[in-house]
């Protein structure tokens, strides 16, 4: 590789120069072969596998029946639950996360609060999964700390209406627990981009604090806030581990439906139905991420 040398461009008529340039370029491309080979095998093949499998029957013939089966009642229900769960926790996470992020930017720069909260957010947002499920079992599971504390000291039974931790309400709670930190991470850069001059300019032009938020900071942060909310939605929609560890009865959301399709070897044709559901998930996430990218571009222009 050390032998490859780029020459300054020779006169265009020089064929030898052109040839050597083509060779150089070919050898440059060699440098990226390992990367592309790897992603081809471990990213492109699985993606194709899912896409093609979604349209293939058990007999190996192309079919639309897998995709058609997505219209089955229980799968539609799972998609609706997944979308609701993701939307609710995205909004909750976005609101509380934005408040926390605001607190961080108004705190001292490079201070301890900001450092600790950012690091903790990184852990809770990305690390999540099984660990968080167990954290909440220890907190408000049947033998959990809070459950026992409330029962013993106040005679309150949080499960008087049934044990909701292992159902949708429990998922909302635990998901919110990792959505808020994610919001902090993705919204913080946008808040950092808001310049103090804008507030001062507004003030000197006669604007009140309310007018500043309504006419300047609000509109400026809206795309970033919306985009972050979408990202949170995609995050919750893709999440699997928490639900897998928490929910043992039934499969209320799509990832759990996929699991049961993958693991049940009894029912034939389930494998490819799983692929159809997986494709459905990719479509939802891709649309959401595309919108996110659009909003992100605007944010970069305003607050970059």
């Amino acid at each position: 590789m050390a032998a490859v040398v780029t020459r300054p461009a020779e006169p265009a008529s020089d064929n030898r120069g052109r040839l050597s340039r083509v060779l150089t370029r070919g050898r440059s491309l060699l440098g990226v072969v390992p990367f592309f080979a790897f992603v081809a095998v471990f990213l492109a093949v699985p993606t194709l596998e899912v896409t093609i499998g979604a349209f293939t029957g058990d007999d190996g013939q192309p079919t639309l029946s897998n995709v058609g089966a997505l219209m089955n009642g229980y799968i539609v229900d799972a998609f609706i639950s997944s979308i609701l769960l993701s939307a609710v926790t995205a909004v909750l996470g976005a609101v509380f996360g934005a408040l926390l992020a605001y607190v961080l930017v108004t705190a001292k720069e490079g201070g301890l609060l900001r450092r600790v909260v950012t690091a903790a957010s990184g852990v809770l947002a990305q690390f999540g999964g099984v660990t968080l499920a167990f954290a909440f079992m220890a907190t408000i599971g049947l033998p959990g700390f809070v459950t026992l504390f409330l029962r013993d000291n106040f005679g309150i039974n949080i499960y008087s209406g049934g044990v909701w931790l292992y159902e949708m309400p429990g998922l909302v709670l635990v998901y919110t627990y990792f959505q808020i930190p994610l919001m902090v991470i993705v919204f913080l850069p946008a808040l950092d981009g808001v310049r103090p001059q804008w507030r001062e300019a507004t003030e000197s032009l006669g604007g009140s604090t309310w007018q500043y938020w309504r006419r300047v900071a609000g509109p400026l942060l809206a795309p970033a806030f919306l985009g972050s909310t979408l990202l949170l939605f995609a995050n919750a929609f893709s999440a699997y581990a928490t639900a897998a560890a928490l929910v043992s009865q039934g499969s209320p959301i799509v990832p759990l439906q996929i699991r049961s399709a993958l693991t049940s070897e009894v029912v034939l044709g389930q494998q490819n139905l799983g692929k159809a559901m997986a494709l459905g998930m990719v479509v939802v996430v891709a649309v959401v991420m595309w919108l996110y990218a659009l909003l992100q571009r605007r944010t970069a222009k305003w607050l970059g």
């Binding site: 990226v32 471990f42 450092r115 968080l132 809070v146 581990a241």
Partner: protein, 286 residues
Amino acid sequence: MAGLATGGLPPRRQGLMRRRARRQRAFRWVVVTVLGVFFLLPLLAMLEFTTRGAGGRLSFDTWRLLFDWGRLRATYPDLSVGITDSAGLVVLTVLLMLVLLVPTVIWVRLRLPRLRRVVEFICLLPLTIPAIVLVVGLAPVYAWVTYFLGGSSLTLTFAYTILVLPYAYRAIDAGLSSIDVRTLAEAARGLGAGWGTVMWRVVLPNIRSAVMSAAFLTVALVLGEFTIASLLNRSNLQVAINLLGKSSAGMSVAVSLAALVLAFVLLMLLSLVGGRRRGIPKENNS
């Protein structure tokens, strides 16, 4: 004159901005307290849960067992296997990520700028492909991996490298954007350095902290991964915790807490590394 003015001031004089600052401080405290309770309560509950002895007394048996490797391996063989597998996966994935990504990204910047968008798109693609979807497509690929390399859990490193691509890429790309790679490379080439020297001795040292953060993120992500390991029937830390939860809740909660704390310490270190990088003045400060 000035002394006179101070003496004759109405009390609201000092107020306005300070009052606003006070209100903001109060707001900050409310938010931090409420969310602090929400976030710390489960962690404290875990601590309480794992130190709950018979008859409501404090007991550190679970923690003592967790830090006694010999006894742990005898008592919970699955857990010890999970921990070793995760440790191995961390090392392998960091190495594979670095070997695959760092030279490629630098090389593309230097020699193939037209491929930059493509590489970026590919690296960010896993963000739109949930792990649960990836695992569906990976099943047949892993049939081949098992055929060639055996069924060891360590083979998960291939899938994990895909999972960490977006985060690692962003970290490294940000590092490269903060230096002028082209000028550095041209300067080095002008002094007679080959491309290998340029990448290894000139560019890499300048993005060391970015590479560090990519590595830290990889560690955290691998330690927390469950979906793929579980559905490909391999073992790792999270799979072991989940399995253990059915028989010995106390130990699984203790391991969860230990893993969370470990990840937190890692990211705290990362923020210190990143903090040092922020010391360099930004270009628009002039």
